[in-house]
């Protein structure tokens, strides 16, 4: 059951593969089991990537419906739609599903799994069976998480952050919290394996000529994400194991029981609830960038293609991504400013500094569009939507990096609005931009553009209608994670607007489902390169053959397919681009 992969050749000839293996060779059509057995046994990164994406999107829809139910509850101050415990369980599961089981796995398990080997000219991921195991751990992790709803006592109710000591056995008894912990242990291992796989693939399986500084930005970002996963997820898994021990083996790692006060301070030997926060956020903040960087990568693929230009400031982009990753491990306690027990200026400075590389990425995206020929297809629309959403989330993020402002708004709806704008900006706008963008590559058929545009515009409108009122609510002092609120504070009108917006978002995602059905029933053939793509994945067929490539173009820049399709792009006369004034003396290059 093993293929020996021969490197593919330049030019158009299919390499002959003289091996003694009885089970087929590189370049052959898909083989091995078919049907359900194919999905169970395949170690092909494309099949695994698709499985990941399908599961992640299912999780996304389930979790989105939870959000709608919660918004309904909040539309009136004392709604009797949900009980307090149901509400607490819902927001816990909504957050956990979206953050651990949708946004991350959709990006690094789904899109990256599918696209990264294609972009670097690799036949598969470096460790295909580990890759498959990683998917099965992710799937079973998702199932375990949702099992929480079916056990006695219901799902976990301590929020996606599971702050100790609320997550202790006394405050959160029952099997629900245990399933939550175990789901994350599974998912954590799954993510670690994917991280290893991504790094291994990118370091060892690049095609000849695909140097590190010729890799597409998406691949770069996935490499950085892989490293961040390796930094962050082991900490989470360790913290969860300790939490489980606290709950069942009486270890008191996160409880302050047994502490003796000396001069008003706890002795250093006792358990500490703060330890959980430290461990969790040491995972949690890199996790935020694990959820952001892949999506930065996606839009960085899309802007150049639909502007018909190269990425502006490619190297700056790479260094910005690396700086974000580097800084992101030094900012974890900005989630803990209000504990009164962290070093404020250190974390404040590092958090504020992240704005700089993020700003560089922003200007590079704008620079990519500048003087381009923008085609507003659905992926491009979603990417531009991402820019606006992330701009708003980023600006409010800078505010929250300042401890005094964080004191004033911590755990209010201001923060809720902030991180929803960031995460919907990345995981939803950019994530679905990626889906629209690479769908033709995956299936050889297009998604319907008209439906896609409906999807985008409804999502865009709903997004602002939902979250802008939440900033106001936060400034008025409405705390997050409340199932009811006083009726005489004037909060209800804002909440109603927000609920309406949430339902607009809900409707927009119905269009995506319709779009899937339409593309299934009435396929629009895509061809190999429908967008005039620039990176290597557009060189192969759609969908790519088993082991991806029968031949490769020469790789002489970070966009080999463009060079291959536009050998004369250098010949564009400067005069023809009337907007080029004398001061723009940027290097002009294309092709070889």
């Amino acid at each position: 059951m093993t293929d020996v992969i021969e490197p593919t050749q330049t030019g158009l000839q299919v390499p002959e593969v003289p091996t003694g293996e009885p089970h087929g060779h590189a370049g052959h059509e898909d083989h091995g089991p078919s049907g359900i057995l194919k999905w169970l046994t395949s170690t092909d990164h494309k099949v695994i990537g698709l499985s990941y994406m399908i599961t992640a999107i299912a999780v996304f829809y389930i979790s989105g419906i939870m959000a709608l139910v919660m918004r309904l509850q909040l539309a009136s101050p004392h709604s009797s739609l949900l009980s307090f415990s149901q509400y607490n369980a819902l927001f816990t599961m909504h957050g956990s599903l979206m953050l651990y089981l949708f946004a991350g796995p959709f990006a690094f398990g789904g899109l990256a799994n599918y696209i990264v080997p294609l972009q670097i000219g690799a036949p598969d991921m470096a460790f295909p069976r580990l890759n498959a195991l990683s998917y099965w751990l992710y799937l079973t992790g998702s199932i375990t998480m949702m099992l929480g709803f079916f056990v006695a006592g219901g799902a976990a109710q301590f929020g996606w952050v599971a702050y100790a000591p609320l997550s202790s056995a006394t405050s959160s008894p029952g099997a629900g919290p245990d399933t939550w912990i175990m789901a994350l242990v599974l998912t954590g291992f799954s993510a670690i394996f994917t991280g290893v796989n991504l790094c291994g693939t990118i370091f060892y399986l690049r095609a000849p000529g695909m140097t590190m500084f010729r890799m597409p930005i998406f691949t770069w970002n996935m490499l950085v994400t892989g490293i961040l996963i390796l930094i962050a997820f082991p900490v989470l898994t360790a913290a969860l194991v300790m939490l489980f021990c606290d709950r069942h083996f009486d270890t008191h790692i996160y409880t302050a029981v047994g502490c003796h006060l000396v001069n008003g301070l706890p002795m250093r030997s006792c358990g500490s609830p703060l330890l959980w926060q430290n461990l969790f956020w040491f995972f949690g903040h890199p996790e935020v960038y694990i959820l952001a960087l892949p999506f930065f990568g996606i839009v960085t693929e899309i802007f150049p293609v639909f502007s018909r230009k190269p990425v502006f400031g490619y190297k700056g982009m790479v260094f910005a991504t690396m700086s974000i990753a580097a800084l992101s491990t030094g900012v974890w306690a900005h989630h803990m400013f209000t504990t009164g027990a962290v070093l404020l200026p250190f974390f404040s400075l590092l958090s504020l500094l992240i704005a700089v590389p993020t700003g560089i990425e922003f200007f590079n995206w704008i620079g990519t569009m500048w003087h381009g020929q923008l085609r507003f297809t659905t992926p491009m629309l979603f990417s531009v939507g991402f820019l606006f959403a992330f701009l708003m989330g980023g600006v409010t993020g800078i505010m929250l990096a300042s401890p005094p402002i964080d004191f004033a708004t911590h755990d209010t709806y201001f923060v809720v609005a902030h991180f929803h704008q960031v995460l919907i900006g990345t995981a939803v706008f950019a994530g679905f931009a990626g889906l629209y963008y690479w769908y033709p590559k995956m299936f050889g058929r297009m998604l319907h553009e008209g439906l896609g545009k409906w999807h985008f515009w409804l999502l865009f409108i709903g997004f602002w209608v939902t979250f802008m009122p939440q900033y106001v609510l936060g400034l008025l002092g409405m705390p997050r994670r409340v199932a009811s609120y006083p009726s005489n504070l004037g909060w209800q009108s804002y909440n109603i607007v927000s609920t309406v917006g949430a339902f607009i978002i809900g409707v927009s995602f119905a269009f995506l489902l319709v779009n899937f059905v339409v593309s299934w029933r009435k396929p629009i053939p895509a061809g190999d390169n429908p967008w005039d793509g620039q990176t290597l994945e557009w060189f192969t067929t759609s969908p790519p053959p088993h082991h991806n490539y029968t031949h490769l173009p020469p790789i002489r820049s970070e966009r080999p397919t463009w060079d291959y399709n536009h050998p004369d792009a250098l010949n564009v006369p400067h005069g023809k681009a009337a907007h080029t004034n004398g001061k723009t003396n940027g290097k002009v290059r294309a092709g070889v």
Binding site: M1, T2, D3, V4, I5, E6, P7, T8, Q9, T10, H23, G24, H31, G32, P33, K38, L40, T41, S42, T43, D44, P123, D124, P128, R129, L130, A132, L133, W136, L137, L139, T140, I143, T144, D178, T179, M182, F189, F203, A207, P208, G209, M210, T211, M212, F213, I227, I231, V235, L279, F282, A326, T329, G330, A333, V342, L343, F346, L350, R556
Partner: protein, 144 residues
Amino acid sequence: MKVESLFLLFLGLFFGGICLWYWFWGYEDGGTMMLFGATLLGFLPGSYYFFWHRRFHGHKYFFWGRIKAAGDRPEDRDDAEMADGAGDIDSFPNSSIWPFVMGMGAFSLVLAMVFGVWLAFIGIPLMITALTGVTAESRRGGDI
């Protein structure tokens, strides 16, 4: 290998700096330990790649010792042709049931932590079977 190694060494260096800075400013041991772990995570693979980078360039151990220089890998050279990568890339399994079996084993083991030990009696055999299977498959499957 150069870019790979420098990339990781840079991260390690940065984390190391942050780690020291944090320790001497905050005297907080938990965060310092985690930053120290991150530092190692940069340095260990970073120095491994650096070792190979040096060896490709004729240095046996980092900066001393001589060995025949093999030159950069094709994927590290700007001017590499596809033919430079000739030869087997690696053996890739085409399909395998064992990851699925192992996943189910892990699933049962994890559920055993929540719902009772009896599930481990399903999980452990599954894990053992899968581990054996995957090892045997690798041995059969060629030069992995």
